[in-house]
Amino acid sequence: MSHVISIAAPAKKTGKTSTAINLAASFAISEKKTLLIDCDPHQGAGYGTSILTYPARSSGFYSVITDRSGIKEEILSSALDFLKVLPSGADFSKADFLFGDTDGDFSKLREKVQAIKDDFDYIVLDSPSGMPNLLKSIVMATDWVVIPLNADIESPKELLSPFSEIRTLLQLIITSGDQFQVFPKIIGILLNKCEKIENVSEKLSNQVFDNINEYILSARIPYSRDISQGLALGRPAAFQNIGSDATFAYMDLAEELIDKINRMQQN
């Protein structure tokens, strides 16, 4: 059975793109047929280019959702046998307006993804910040949502804004689900950039995280140069250093998600 997972958070700098690219690579390394769809126009230019095999010509996902080309013809191969990539395309920044026009457009992205769903074990969608219509459309196209959270904070005040944004996302999922009769589930909140996580826990005591402990994923993504440098080059941390803490953390994340999805489906 195939699964569509979106990496979604309205706030900036939560690690959405690094999570998407590294999670997709980790699924692929685990020999799961995986498609990474770039739905973040801000990352579009260099995203994934270093892992693509050449010739890497694609008009991108924007061309697909505007019916100018078929989704299968825009999907590119990568250096990993089990990983395919669908770039966003040059005009993807217009997508937010596209989905803002009519309610009907919200289901278009879902229709396109559903059309190729059975070709893959996992489809991972990156999502943008500051594009509410596009984000809504992405979330409605997915079965599962992972919410990344930047844990590199010094005081509780810094968590107020990202948690408020998470609440906004959840409200969006609830109201959109009602509107479109599509009900994606939340796999969990992923703590990114965890260099100071012990410090964070100490400062926040258990008061804050205890409330949502059962929804925080066990995998912790460390702050790592392998992640940031890899992202700058458009490739996963595993391509920077296969033996790094970051690579193992993303492999743990992939394993945890596979297991959690199976368990959530059984319930």
Binding site: K157, L170, I173, I174, F183, I186, V208, I212
Partner: protein
Amino acid sequence: MKLIEQNALKTVEQKLLDLIVVNLNWQALRKAIKSQFSIKVLKDITVDRGNILILDNEIVYQLHLGPETGVSVLMDRSGELIEISFSESMNEIREKLSKPDEEILEEQAALEDTSALTSEIAAMISQINETDQGEISKTEG
């Protein structure tokens, strides 16, 4: 008889001290101050300056914490803490390392707000994950 330029040695010593500062485990140091002197270090601290000293015929490193806290830390060549010493009264030190009451109150308020938010988020995730098709209308209505 001068065997090496003084500046060359000073530069290398400073580089060593800078490296020690870069690699300093601040969390462990905060814990040590808390456990030994019951002072919770809440302000951002830095290292004002460092010295290389001899103690009991062994090289040790001394770091003076800043900005002007009056606290210095002594560690041996294996990185083990030897002692933390204060050049000012405990009350003065406490004032310099802790935050003003207003800031503590502000942080406490933020903690309570964040705690309320996470509680709300947990309830929403539970609702989303436990709601099957068609049920959201009922719960939202």
